[in-house]
């Protein structure tokens, strides 16, 4: 939403990112180097892309716990297609098809089955993971040609290809969210589903599409991940759902739906990327990092809730 409150909130997130970066700059001479910043950008890409789908779903008042498993299933489908000698475009279509199909199933059951998204996507989380393991018999699919791997390793000028892919994804997703009827309905459904229904909007159809978007984003993330690792692993994408939810929520999207923006989510994903990178540079143990990141998530939402009643009424 372009309300003053939402803008103020997003501004706050950007300030949070800048303050965090300033502190890390002061503490570590390596932080503010071009090489490290590109490194952060590249490490953030996958979470940032998954979080796009998550933002759509959360904006509509839902949740998608299956994104990590869909990344794995989509990835192994891609890997298998490539290894069986399919052309790259065909393999990419297969990966995307698998992701979108999983999302459609999620959305259809949530819409027409009238089940809570939490339950449906929890089930899909297990089903997609199981299918990935079954399909590969638990073994990774590895070793792809240079052309495919350039999706992760290549650069245009000095900018890594994944960063460009992520940028394109954000621009398109942002335009869809703000300039199309579909985007309007995403916010409207999350803001007041009943009022939207009574306005003649097909809730079932649009909800299904929203989960399909989330599946699509998982597939794009799967392509980037498989190219980076040069391997498609059935156990890939573990805990991605939590990172994506965290980025969305830190970015100011309300878990109740209806309020938030993709700009916020991108900043949220960057905060998580910068934090991880900075803590690594400072030599903080990975165990301690988990604690810090958890505290940041709670802190961000806490600040949100404190700000809301004062600004929301009036």
């Amino acid at each position: 939403m372009t309300t003053r409150l939402a803008r103020a909130r997003q501004f706050g997130t950007v300030i949070g990112l800048l303050v965090l970066s300033g502190v890390l700059w002061a503490l570590s001479p390596h932080f503010l180097t071009v090489a490290n910043l590109l490194n952060i950008a590249q490490q953030t890409t996958i979470n940032a892309v998954v979080a796009v789908g998550m933002t759509y779903v959360i904006l509509s008042g839902g949740i998608d716990l299956s994104v990590g498993s869909i990344v794995a299933l989509s990835g192994v489908a891609l890997g298998a297609a490539l290894q069986s000698g399919q052309a790259l475009p065909v393999a990419l279509v297969v990966a995307i098809g698998v992701g979108v199909a999983c999302g459609l199933v999620n959305g259809a059951i949530v819409s027409w089955g009238r089940l809570p998204p939490f339950i449906v996507t929890l089930g899909m989380m297990s089903i997609a993971r199981g299918m990935a393991l079954l399909f590969t018999e638990g073994r990774p699919v590895s070793g792809f040609d240079e052309g495919f791997r350039s999706l992760a390793t290549g650069r245009v000028g000095f900018i890594p290809v994944p960063v460009i892919i992520t940028g394109v994804v954000y621009v398109i997703a942002h335009v869809v969210l703000t300039k199309t009827t579909f985007g309007r309905y995403v916010y409207a459904i999350g803001g007041n589903e009943e009022a939207t229904r009574l306005s003649g909007v097909s809730i079932d159809f649009h909800k299904t599409m929203i989960y399909a978007v989330s599946g699509l984003m998982s597939a794009v993330a799967a392509i980037m991940l498989t190219a980076r690792l040069n391997s498609a692993q059935p156990i890939a994408g573990m805990m991605y759902e939590l990172d994506a939810i965290a980025a969305t929520v830190i970015g100011g999207t309300s878990l109740m739906g209806g309020e938030g923006s993709l700009g916020g989510t991108l900043v949220g994903a960057l905060i998580m990327g910068v934090l991880r990178n900075g803590l690594n540079l400072l030599g903080v143990s990975s165990f301690l990092q988990q604690i810090v990141i958890g505290a940041v998530i709670i802190g961000a939402v806490l600040v949100d809730t404190w700000l809301k009643p004062r600004a929301g009424r009036g």
């Binding site: 309300t3 009827t181 803001g191 007041n192 009022a195 229904r197 009574l198």
Partner: protein
């Protein structure tokens, strides 16, 4: 209770109301929807704070600042929705939160069941205290709720429409129980809409109207028509700017609509240029009727014709395509998206028309909404979310949604509820403009003066049926109210 006054923003709900209860009496509280009965009882039970007046118990002034105070003073309310836990036993429910304990915290089960059993016996109830609550009928659950109040030594018991869901045999049981209560010296306040019950159970009656005390009298001194007269004749207080338009062609015909439990064989016709008022008590099926016509709920049988042609209302989208626009009763929950701006809310039903291949051209929502915002004089800035607007302006936004399209059949469900006086008149004027332009309006209203003042014809619903059809010229508050109460007339 003396001189109780309670105001909400824009409305005085109670204005100097007196209510005196005697030990051992059943005091019936009567009044139309919105007369102030519930507000008065909420003040008594501490759910609301009174603005002025005093409450005396046994002659001593008492302060009731919250539900806890009221409970401590022995004042209890039994609402229509019972506050019981279905999975616990009868005895556990009776002593919920105050179970007898030993050794500082261990529940003394033997004593719990023994005390509960004795209490149930005293009240003439035939089920054991060990029975799980979910095994009981609704009437029996109500009795458990009463036993629960007695276990806490209630001296004043308020019952809010306790018989609305009971069979006649269960009503008999309940009344026997109420008599036992009064013989123990409990004062019972009995709220009901069933006038026939009033004489069976009540000793005295107090009638409220428009938040004011009309009369308190013993029941042997008044007849049912007297009571109806006291409840009706509400202050019109405001002038209704009704402009009559000669009714035109038939716009909407509803034939034998049924929906289980809420609508029973409803048929009527709406013509161009007329306001068809629908009266009735809460729960009479008015809102349910509106929702069926607006495509929000499906009927079990019956059909709806628009312009003489049967239409299949498969959902709100279909109803909108046929030019039906609904102003829902629950504006906030159903009328608008609170976080959206005025323009986006107005444009919401028109996305398909506005979009070019799914894309919304820049400013198209504003171009659609601006003329209507100006016409209706909706006050608010372009970027302000609708949830921050006043009730009247919010209602105008919901209206504007349908004005932006080509709706010609409007269903207004309580159009002026929670709306300030100025905005009310604007909404009435707008209804005149719509009918003058050939639209038909179905107006559901619990405000009798509004119903009489703005309708051309009035349908009165009772228990899901059309109980009466009255021409506005011959309508009186008493006639409408009698029909709404299910009395012949």
């Amino acid at each position: 209770m003396r001189g109780i006054r309670k105001a909400f923003p824009g409305v005085i709900a109670l204005d100097g109301v007196d209510l005196a209860l005697r030990a051992g009496e059943v005091h019936v509280l009567l009044g139309e929807n919105g007369a102030g009965k519930s507000t008065l009882m909420k003040v008594l039970s501490g759910a609301y704070q009174k603005d002025a007046g005093e409450i005396l118990l046994n002659g001593r002034p008492v302060e009731i600042n919250g539900p806890r105070d009221a409970l401590a003073l022995g004042i209890r309310i039994i609402y229509q929705e019972l506050n019981l836990v279905p999975h616990l036993s009868v005895a556990e429910n009776i002593f919920l939160g105050s179970a007898p304990t030993r050794w500082g915290g261990i529940i003394d089960w033997r004593r719990l069941y023994a005390t509960a059993g004795q209490l149930l016996g005293d009240l003439g109830m035939e089920f054991s205290p060990q029975t799980p609550l979910r095994a009981l009928s609704l009437a029996q659950r109500q009795m458990v709720e009463i036993a629960k109040s007695l276990a806490r030594n209630a001296s004043v018991l308020v019952m809010d429409e306790p018989t609305s869901a009971l069979t006649s045999r269960e009503v008999d049981q309940l009344f026997t129980l109420v008599q036992r209560l009064t013989s123990r010296g409990v004062a019972v306040v009995y709220i009901t809409h069933r006038l026939d019950e009033v004489y069976r159970i009540g000793h005295r009656v107090t009638v409220l109207r428009d938040g004011r005390h009309v009369a308190t009298t013993t029941l042997d001194q008044v007849s049912i028509p007297d009571l109806v007269r006291m409840m009706a004749n509400r202050d019109v207080g405001e002038h209704f700017p009704k402009v009559r338009t000669a009714p035109g062609v038939e716009l909407l015909r509803v034939e034998r609509l049924r929906r289980r439990g809420v609508l029973d064989d409803v048929s009527f016709v709406l013509r161009a240029g007329e306001v068809l008022g629908i009266g009735g008590l809460l729960g009479a099926g008015r809102t349910e009727l509106a929702r069926v016509i607006a495509g929000a709920d499906r009927p079990d049988s019956g059909r709806v014709l628009v312009d003489g042609k049967p239409v299949s209302l498969t959902g709100p989208a279909a109803a909108i395509r046929h030019g039906i626009g609904l102003l829902p009763e629950e504006r906030k929950a159903q009328g608008f998206v609170g976080g959206f701006t005025i323009c986006r809310n107005i444009a919401l039903p028109h996305g398909r028309r506005l979009g070019h291949g799914g894309f919304l051209p820049g400013g198209c929502e504003e171009r659609l909404a601006d003329p209507i915002v100006k016409e209706l004089r909706i006050k608010g800035t372009a970027s302000q979310p609708v949830k921050l607007l006043s009730g009247g302006n919010q209602q105008k936004v919901v209206l504007a949604k349908w004005l932006a399209g080509d709706a010609k059949i409007f269903i207004f469900d309580e159009p002026t509820r929670g709306v300030d006086v100025g905005a009310k008149v604007e909404i009435y004027n707008l209804m005149n403009r719509l009918t003058a332009a050939g639209a038909g309006i179905i107006m559901i209203s619990s405000e009798l003066p509004e119903l009489l003042g703005m309708s051309d014809r009035i349908l009165v619903m009772h228990h899901g049926r059309i109980a009466a059809e009255i021409d506005a010229a011959q309508a009186s508050q008493e006639r409408v109210l009698s029909a709404a109460l299910g009395l012949a007339g």
